[in-house]
């Protein structure tokens, strides 16, 4: 075990995956010599050489397109898009190509790539450094979409993603890179070194895609969430005094139905939370899944807490971000429902 930040855990995952398999190549804007604008690939070029980890031109469509070509050859590219907000030029390559290559060629060609990108808000990044576009990927057949909430899971999920035979969208909540942010922006930053999930096992391990984690066990109500909102939910539970069971989904597609249904059956109440905009967000899918499978256990309507349906603001970040106050209010309302 080593205490790590999420950045260090992601770096470590790359190192482990690259050491075990020389087909793993890493590239993206500024990821080579510099090691990425968030330093997630720092040291990889030095350690593995310029042919395993390198910079690219600023062309997201090109980054994903060549990764697909390399995957077709038999490599396992793990690429970085500098911010999730900049993935859109690559959307065609992801949706029309990577996602469907296996199916359309009946397994003749596959796209075993991992596409990493920082996601979410909390850094005063305005509308082009704060978006949470996960549902644009979860809606696409053929893609897997994962999002860790802590260093331990980040490492295990990234290794699992790189080793996975299908394209994986790997979303990294940037506000969690250096500490478990719970939405209390006015408080001092808490480092990962003070958090149990900052304990990262050495060497190789995986967190299987499709396995959720019970972040906090509780009997009153279930919070289904992921990414930064896991920590916000923890704060909301503590502050509201509600004994919430917080499920960190970790993997949106595939989704761990068992953990979800077991929890909601137990608590009978459910709140769904994400940073992304509300309409057609992944929360809508979660609501549908819960009512399909455990409707008879529900004692209250499922509540959704999400970003407002506006572009992500700059000055009004904390009026926009669904922090512990908003989530706590939804939890209290769900508890009060009779």
């Amino acid at each position: 075990m080593t205490r790590m930040t999420m950045v260090e855990a992601i770096r470590d995952a790359h190192t482990v995956a690259m050491e075990r398999d020389d087909r793993v190549v890493v590239f993206g804007q500024d990821v080579g010599y510099f090691g990425g604008v968030f330093r997630c690939t720092q040291g990889l070029q030095k350690r593995f050489g310029k042919h395993r980890c390198f910079d690219t031109p600023i062309n997201e469509s090109g980054i994903v397109g060549v990764a697909i070509g390399m995957g077709a050859y038999g490599l396992r590219p793990c690429v970085e898009i500098q911010f999730a907000d900049y993935v859109y030029p690559a959307y065609d390559q992801i949706v029309s190509e990577a996602a469907r290559l296996r199916h359309r060629s009946a397994g003749d060609f596959t796209a075993p790539l991992t596409i990493r990108m920082p996601t979410g808000g909390g850094i005063f990044g305005g509308q082009t450094h704060s978006q949470s576009p996960e549902s644009l990927f979860t809606h696409v057949a053929g893609l897997k979409t994962v999002i860790p909430s802590n260093p331990h899971d980040a490492k295990g999920l990234l290794i699992a993603s790189i080793e996975d035979d299908d394209p994986v969208i790997f979303l990294e909540p940037k506000r969690l890179y250096n500490g478990p942010f719970d939405g209390h922006h006015e408080r001092p930053i808490v480092p990962w070194s003070a958090h149990p999930l900052g304990e990262v096992p050495d060497g190789h391990y995986t967190v299987p895609l499709g396995s959720a984690r019970v972040h906090r066990a509780g009997g009153d109500l279930t919070v289904l969430t992921y990414g930064t909102m896991v920590h916000v939910a923890e704060a909301a539970a503590a502050e509201s005094g509600i004994d919430a069971e917080i499920i960190d989904l970790r993997s949106l597609v595939p989704l761990d139905l068992d953990t979800i249904t077991t929890s909601v059956r137990k608590t009978g109440r459910c709140v769904v939370a994400h940073e992304a905009t509300l309409t057609s967000g992944f929360g809508a899918e979660l609501c549908a899944v819960v009512q399909e499978h455990v409707l008879s256990s529900l004692e209250a309507p499922i509540a959704r807490v999400a970003g407002w349906d506006t572009p992500y603001p700059h000055a009004h970040e904390w009026n926009y971000f669904p922090g512990p106050a908003r989530l706590g209010a939804a939890m209290r309302a769900t508890m009060a429902y009779r």
Binding site: Q29, D30, G32, Y33, F34, V37, K50, H51, F54, D55, T56, P57, I58, N59, S61, G62, D85, Y86, Y88, P89, F124, G125, G126, Q127, T128, H129, L278, T279, W308, D309, T310, P311, P313, H314, A315, H316, N319, Y320
Partner: protein, 416 residues
């Protein structure tokens, strides 16, 4: 005679070329490969020249100011002394404004800033060569376009501070200005998108037999984006009245220009395959920037089609307040940049022609510093990022032309 048949010689295996800059931290900076012509040596073709007849200009470098500070050659003479002094003041304003805003960032008045240190001539001289109603589609590093359009500094700072007088209502990242009146299209954080939009604006102007032209902007790194190529093909196909500006400041965050340029000798030569008139210019030479911008504007306005210009300059500062260039380039590199400093060069020229003095310069600096300081304190009265903003309810405005029901409900739920 023994001839080695290159086609028959195969290596044991293939090997990929990964570009590397000439110098990294700790190395001596080198600009050996920079193709520089002597001032005054590159010809000035007529504005109706066929692109095919000026392919040499894509690899040469148009320069007006020589090492003595004289304006020489066929591109000299587009500006009188009064205009030159105004140009110097524009550039000084940009530089002093940038310095003040970096300080404001350190003080916590804003979340972010991007300076254009060392490349002030490009935007400042270009804007003065356009007409006020021409439309620029800038990147985040063309604050000079606004300043040389006499846009109020206090309004810029209001935007940077996201304060209660921010015309963009606290929505945009600092420096992502927008001003239709100042011919300055709303800046996007997504690289390259504006380049092809500039072509569309120019096409619209031509569709309506208007006389206005557009000017699109992109950085060297961002020319790798597909939108750069979209712009080129549309401009070429429709002969759009647009100036397509590439600001080659040598760096794209930590990535040197060799990644976007590949094996092309210059960025300007990118235009040749599209049949677009393409020029390469000393971007730290205010006179050259003005002369070439005027040429390209006249060409566009006379319906002779688009011009691609590579402005060769150097990003002296960090990419942004989130960046530290000492991690990827030699710390002395900015000081060895062969094209010098645009402000020093224009100042020396003005002194040489007897139209300026060190005393006047110092006085001008002091005046601009006072102006910037006053603008900043005026803006501070309207708040900073840490204090006063537009109402949070305004977040819900302008998502659509009229507020739809679901947003009205969300706004109520938010309690604004």
């Amino acid at each position: 005679m023994h001839v080695v048949d290159a086609e028959a010689a195969e290596p044991d295996g293939l090997r990929l070329r990964i570009p590397e800059p000439k110098a990294r931290p700790g190395d001596k900076p080198v600009f050996r490969d920079l193709l520089i012509d002597r001032a005054g040596e590159v010809r000035r073709p007529p504005i109706d020249v066929r692109p095919a007849d000026i392919v040499d200009l894509g690899a040469e470098m148009i320069r007006v100011l020589d090492i003595h500070g004289d304006a020489v050659g066929p591109w000299a003479g587009t500006l009188d002394a009064e205009q030159l002094r105004r140009g110097l003041r524009d550039m000084l304003t940009v530089r002093i404004f940038d310095a003040r805003m970096l300080q404001a960032h350190r003080q916590g008045n804003t979340s972010f800033y991007m300076q254009s240190l060392g490349e002030e001539a490009v935007a400042c001289a270009h804007r003065r060569a356009l007409r006020p109603d021409d439309m620029c589609f800038p990147t985040y590093r063309q604050q000079g376009l606004l300043i040389a359009a006499d846009y109020p500094l206090v309004t810029m700072i209001n935007q940077i501070y996201s304060n209660s007088h921010d015309p963009l209502k606290g929505r945009q990242l600092p420096v992502m200005y927008s001003s239709r009146d100042a011919g300055f299209f709303s800046i996007s954080g997504n690289l390259g998108t504006q380049f092809v939009q500039a072509v569309g604006w120019a096409m619209a102007s031509a569709l309506r037999t208007d006389t206005r032209i557009a000017s699109g902007w992109i950085g060297d790194g961002a020319t790798a984006e597909s939108d750069f190529h979209s712009a080129m093909v549309f401009a070429s196909t429709y002969h759009a009245p647009v100036i397509l500006n590439i600001v080659n400041n040598q760096w794209a965050i930590s990535t040197f220009q060799g990644f976007a340029r590949g094996d092309s000798p210059t960025f300007a030569t990118r235009g040749h395959g599209f049949g677009i008139a393409s020029l390469r210019v000393d971007g730290n030479d205010y006179l050259a920037v003005h002369a070439v911008s005027s040429w390209a504007a006249a060409r566009a306005r006379a319906n002779h089609g688009p011009t691609l210009v590579e402005w060769v300059t150097y990003r002296v500062g960090a990419h942004s307040t989130s960046d530290d260039p000492s991690a990827y380039r030699p710390q002395e590199e900015p000081f060895t940049w062969p094209l010098g400093d645009p402000i020093d060069r224009l100042k020396n020229h003005l002194i040489r022609i007897g139209e300026w003095s060190d005393e006047q310069h110092q006085q001008c600096v002091a005046e601009v510093e006072a102006t910037v300081r006053e603008a900043a304190s005026e803006a501070e009265r309207f708040g900073t990022l840490r204090s006063e903003h537009s109402s949070p309810a305004s977040m819900f405005d302008d998502v659509y032309a009229t507020l739809p029901d679901h947003l009205r409900r969300q706004r109520e739920q938010a309690g604004f």
